[in-house]
């Protein structure tokens, strides 16, 4: 008894120490991987936020107080228009009238116009968040020494007016509305095109096609398509949609006067091509994961194939299909390269108004701004990145809510 015990202990101990050591090493390396991942994310977010907020030293070209005794925001539309007329040159006013007739503008838009055309606030120097928090005295001293006519303000580069103002070449007055609307238009149209086609293809491949060599080749190729670099889709879109189908994508076939095919429609079609393989693959997986007992139950009751798919397979697969769509849309919304090829404008301040409008999108604006020399554009770019992230999170949240709605029906 005693002897057995000690044998047990001596053998067990030897193994145990080694095993514990090995498991400890693995455990800490897994932990390290997780930490590195999270740490990089935090750094990324931090550096964006750091650039999107901070002190600025601003100088106004014209003192707002000299235009009106009251703050601009509280003026009526007519007063704002007359201020505009009195303070800009005749030619400039004509140009403004041609781009955006002032009579049709809202009050907030007029305030923006007066600010950008007359007051012309210029940011002389901008600071990131960290120096702003730690070094305020220094910033104020710089302003007093170097820019005695200017003022120091704390600025959040992302603001309501940043979201609602159109693009402009001035980092102080530019908004992101044009690009934001462009991104939203393209995503919505893309989903409308790609979602039904993707699900349809997945249903055909999983529920109808027989398992012969042809369908196997098709399936393998769809997997490969998902891995093709997005720029290739851009080239395809340029050749097919922008050039080849010019008559359709420009809207000329319904009499829209638009000389080129560089439209929302072309972009959305290209994006649909890009995300179709992702949607198909994920939908196939989801459909395959539907238990066969469910199909049997339905067929056993004398249901047709279509009824079985429509009432049982699709609802059961929907959470998985939506997850795949979330991933695909998240990819599409951040894509830049293919859209540059199909002709996103790098500068445009007219809102997209339909399928046949020219457009720009958030990632392209971000890219443009980061390549500008003025330091303020980096702040603007950081703010747009935040907007892009928020759009992404909002879309994902909506899709997740939808998914949970479907999952709830399935739960016991």
């Amino acid at each position: 008894m005693n002897k057995n015990n000690s044998i047990f202990e001596s053998r067990a101990q030897g193994n145990l120490k080694k095993r514990h050591r090995v498991s400890k090493i693995w455990r800490s390396s897994f932990f390290l991987s997780t930490t590195i991942g999270i740490f990089s994310l935090v750094i990324l977010l931090f550096s964006i936020i750091n650039q999107a907020f901070g002190y600025v030293i601003v100088e106004n070209n014209v003192d707002p107080a000299s235009l009106s005794s009251m703050p601009l925001q509280s003026l009526e539309r007519e007063e704002l228009i007359s201020i505009l007329q009195e303070n800009v040159s005749k030619n400039r006013f004509k140009t403004i009238q041609r781009d955006n007739p002032v009579e049709e503008l809202k009050r907030s838009e007029l305030v923006g116009l007066v600010t950008s055309e007359i007051i012309k606030p210029t940011t002389l120097k901008s600071y990131f968040l960290i120096p702003s928090l730690t070094n305020k005295a220094e910033i104020i001293r710089t302003q007093q020494d170097e820019f005695p006519n200017a003022v120091v303000q704390f600025r959040s580069w992302i603001s309501p007016s940043f979201l609602t103002d159109p693009l402009s070449t001035n980092p102080d007055t530019t908004g992101i509305r044009t690009a934001l609307l462009g991104s939203l238009w393209i995503i919505v149209v893309t989903v409308i095109i790609a979602f039904p086609i993707g699900i349809g293809a997945a249903i055909y491949l999983e529920e109808y096609s027989s398992n012969n060599w042809l369908s196997r080749i098709i399936k393998t190729n769809i997997d490969n398509l998902a891995g093709i670099p997005s720029i290739v889709y851009g080239l395809l879109g340029l050749a097919i949609f922008v050039r080849g189908l010019n008559l359709i994508t420009s809207g000329a076939f319904i009499g829209i006067d638009q000389s080129n095919g560089r439209t929302i429609l072309s972009a959305a079609l290209t994006m649909s091509l890009l995300i179709l393989p992702l949607i198909i693959i994920n939908a196939q997986e989801a459909i395959r994961a539907v238990p066969s007992s469910l199909r049997q139950a339905s067929y056993g009751l004398g249901a047709t194939r279509l009824q079985t798919i429509w009432y049982h397979v699709l609802p059961a697969a929907m959470p998985g299909i939506l997850t795949g769509t979330i991933l695909a849309v998240s990819r599409a919304i951040g894509e830049t390269a293919p859209l540059i090829l199909v002709g996103a404008s790098s500068f445009i301040n007219k809102d997209p108004s339909g399928l046949f409008s020219n457009f720009t999108v958030l990632p392209i604006q971000i890219y443009n701004w980061t390549t500008r020399p003025q330091a303020e554009f980096r702040n603007v770019a950081a703010a747009s990145i935040l907007v892009l992230l928020i759009v992404l999170l909002t879309l994902n949240t909506a899709a997740i809510l939808l998914r949970n709605h479907f999952s709830k029906n399935k739960a016991a």
């Binding site: 238990p291 049997q296 067929y299 056993g300 009751l301 004398g302 029906n409 016991a412």
Partner: protein, 259 residues
């Protein structure tokens, strides 16, 4: 012999079933009688489920499955070109080994199949009637909107039977319907089968000798030949098969000296 009094509702003639090139069932001849409970017994892998699925063309969904021979239902071969398998399944319903209610409410589980079959009468009445026929009404009448998956296994299986009844089939196929159930739930289903046999013909595959002996009128005993193909060894009245089997293999099996 009593079996000759009735007209057969299904006549199986020289049936062989293949999975690709593997012959799973070989040369079966069998007659199923109206309003009787027919049990199919035999060792695992002898092709009981395969034969049962061939009665309502559920084998059509298995890639590579094919049949030879005829299965006549009301004297019409259900494998004829002009027969729509969906129509066959509406007349010959099926209850599976594992309860598989739809992940919907109890009510919808029953209403769905009827709706798909073009039922246009009063749905509430139909649901109540079939649940009563399936001896489930008293247990669920106050919670018809509850998710069917929250029922117990035995209740789920009776719901699946009720669901099959709502389509108004003539025959109900059951593949080991009680194998996932406890003895009490099993007895309930057996009583139910007895009740249902007044209006329906039932074919049941079972591994449970007592169940076959207790609950069935006719028994078919299958086994495998040397190629692992399933063959029918003996078919007759249940009382005769269990008390006075003609075949040595049948006797060995039912007395537990086999498999």
């Amino acid at each position: 012999m009593t079996e000759n009094k009735n007209q057969p509702i299904i006549t199986v003639k020289d049936l062989s079933i293949f999975y690709k090139t593997f012959r799973a069932v070989k040369n079966v001849d069998l007659e199923i009688f109206e309003n009787k409970i027919t049990a199919i017994i035999g060792p695992s892998g002898c092709g009981k489920s395969t034969v049962l699925r061939s009665f309502n063309r559920m084998n059509d969904f298995i890639p590579g499955a094919s049949i030879q021979g005829n299965i006549l239902f009301h004297d019409k071969n259900i494998y004829d070109e002009d027969v729509d398998p969906v129509q066959v399944r509406r007349m010959i319903g099926m209850v599976f080994q594992k309860p598989n209610p739809f992940p919907k409410s109890i009510y919808e589980n029953i209403a769905w199949g009827a709706k798909m079959n073009g039922f246009s009468g009063n749905m509430d009445d139909l649901v109540e009637k079939t649940l009563q026929d399936a001896a489930l009404w008293d247990e669920v009448k106050d919670e018809l909107n509850k998710n069917a998956l929250s029922l117990s296994g035995g209740q789920q299986q009776r719901l699946c039977i009720a669901r099959a009844l709502a389509v108004k089939p003539e025959i109900i196929l059951m593949d080991e319907p009680c194998s996932a159930l406890d003895p009490i739930a099993t007895l309930k289903i057996e009583d139910l089968m007895r009740e249902l046999s007044h209006n329906y013909s039932i074919i049941i595959v079972t591994h449970n000798m007592q169940q076959a002996a207790r609950a069935s009128d006719m028994t078919a005993f299958f086994t495998m030949d040397e190629d692992r193909a399933g063959v029918m060894v003996e078919y007759g009245l249940t009382t005769q098969i269990f008390t006075n089997p003609k075949n040595k293999q049948t006797e060995d099996y039912i007395t537990g000296r086999f498999g």
